[in-house]
């Protein structure tokens, strides 16, 4: 059988999701597997979306705002992501915090279904992730709180989609920069470090998953919120993380832009990840 390839791109998760697959099978079969990948990404998106009223995350958020002490039962997917977020919170000395209530409430980015509670929200004393109590799939909080899973939901969706593909398929999935390359050894990646089209740094892949932080698009997502100093941080050039999974890569890329070099090294090493910093002139150096 001949080797066939397919390159698809759909707008999903608020960004562009690419599915590139190659295999020795019929084109119809490969299309089928690319549909499986997109369907799984869509399913995760429906479950973990911060902006959609009917997502499981929205149900959790409303529960944690109105009755934080009551235990909420999470699905497997939500449990996986929140449990991981707790691990990164602990390893990063609280720099990684998915409960970013303060800046969102103050800004216009609060979705309508939470906006209804805005008055109550502003009056309340919010907790942070330290107030969260996790017991397996049960979650509650000592103080009102809500979560935005943002990037790690994207990374998790990519990981789940890849896990559904049969072994004889190679290729990659790239969800707005969070990517996983199936046979990554001996492959290279080009990392964007500036606005210009030519601002791409070619580097060998160091692991299967990669995520990057950078402020060159100058959109609201280009600002990284520092929960300790309560301010936004911009990234010059690019800070990238190679890891075993896209969810880990995404979380760590957010957190190491806020930390000093020594602490960043510790967190990266704990999760078996490698960090790379590229300055705005395109010079790269390893963080760990």
């Amino acid at each position: 059988m001949n080797q066939v390839s397919i390159k698809r791109c759909r707008p999903l998760l608020g960004t562009f999701v690419e599915v590139n697959l190659t295999a020795k099978m019929s084109e119809k079969a490969l299309i089928h597997w690319s549909n499986i990948a997109f369907d799984e990404i869509e399913r995760i998106h429906q479950t973990l979306s911060f902006h959609q009223l009917d997502s499981e995350l929205s149900a959790l958020n409303i529960a944690l705002i109105t009755a934080p002490n009551a235990q909420f039962t999470m699905s497997v997917d939500l449990q996986n992501v929140v449990t991981f977020a707790q691990q990164v919170f602990e390893q990063s000395n609280s720099y990684y915090d998915i409960s970013i209530a303060a800046p969102l409430v103050a800004s216009k980015h609060l979705p309508a279904h939470l906006f209804a509670y805005k008055a109550a929200l502003l009056a309340q004393q919010f907790g942070c992730f330290a107030d969260v109590n996790l017991e397996g799939n049960l979650i509650s909080s000592a103080k009102p709180i809500f979560f935005d899973l943002g990037g790690i939901a994207k990374g998790y969706a990519v990981d789940q989609a890849i896990s559904l593909l049969p072994k004889d398929i190679t290729g990659s999935i790239n969800a707005g920069g969070d990517m996983r390359v199936i046979n990554w050894q001996k492959q290279t990646v080009e990392i964007k470090y500036g606005q210009r089209n030519s601002a791409l740094k070619k580097l060998p892949m160091l692991n299967t998953a990669l995520a990057s932080s950078g402020s060159y698009y100058q959109e609201s997502g280009s600002q990284y919120f520092d929960p300790k100093n309560k301010c936004y941080v911009k990234v010059n050039g690019s800070t990238s993380v190679f890891a075993d999974s896209a969810m880990v890569a995404d979380a760590l890329t957010k957190v190491i832009v806020l930390m000093n070099r020594k602490d960043a090294e510790k967190v990266l090493n704990h999760f078996n990840a490698k960090g790379i910093s590229i300055n705005r002139f395109g010079f790269s150096r390893r963080i760990n």
Binding site: R10, P11, G14, T15, S172, G177, T188, K192, N197, S215
Partner: protein, 183 residues
């Protein structure tokens, strides 16, 4: 200087600028062809070409309803056997120029969206008329560096909100014009 002479010089300078602007290489990625997208979005039905040209009134109405500019009055559409639509459309953002394929069911539901070609640029190029005129894969090779091989490219997240706006415009196009066209 007389008004006529001033106008003439203005036109001359504008024309000269069009030729003098350096053509910067833009970044472009090709995904599915139109034929491939048709197979994926309408796998079980035959598609028949059904292009539509919007009148001024229709375009104005769609602009009012969607609050989005209707740049192109020509709709590159195909009709499925059961009355659904396959449309190739273009979305232009500040730095992006994207060709899309969209499938709409006979009831007006968006069944699927595929990006056909994605182009990005940050230079003076956005002023160049050639950049604005790119459409339907008619890319001039001196202008774009289309990547033939699969490149792994990673960066920070770019929002797809211009695509969302385009889909909104198309939904209104369907409800005010396309839904009224008999099979």
């Amino acid at each position: 200087m007389s008004m006529l002479r001033r106008r003439f010089l203005k036109g001359l300078v504008a024309t000269a600028a069009t030729f003098a602007l350096p053509i910067q290489v833009a970044f472009a990625k090709s995904y599915l062809t139109i034929a491939q997208a048709q197979k994926i979005l309408w796998p079980d039905q035959k598609l028949t070409p059904a292009p539509v040209d919007l009148t001024e009134e229709q375009a104005d109405l769609i602009e009012d309803l969607s609050d989005i500019r209707v740049r192109n009055h020509h709709i590159n559409g195909w009709r499925s056997e059961d009355g659904g639509w396959f449309i190739v459309d273009q979305v232009i953002g500040k730095h992006e120029n994207i060709d899309l394929a969209i499938a709409i069911s006979a009831e007006g539901k968006v069944m699927g969206i595929e990006v056909l070609t994605y182009r990005e640029t940050y230079g003076d190029q956005i002023m160049h008329p050639k950049w604005r005129a790119q459409f339907h894969g008619k890319d001039s090779s001196e202008f774009l560096k289309l990547d033939k091989q699969i490149r792994n490219i990673s960066g920070a997240t770019l929002s797809c909100r211009h695509v969302t706006d385009g889909i909104n415009r198309l939904n209104h196009t369907w409800s005010s014009v396309l839904s009224k066209i008999a099979l």
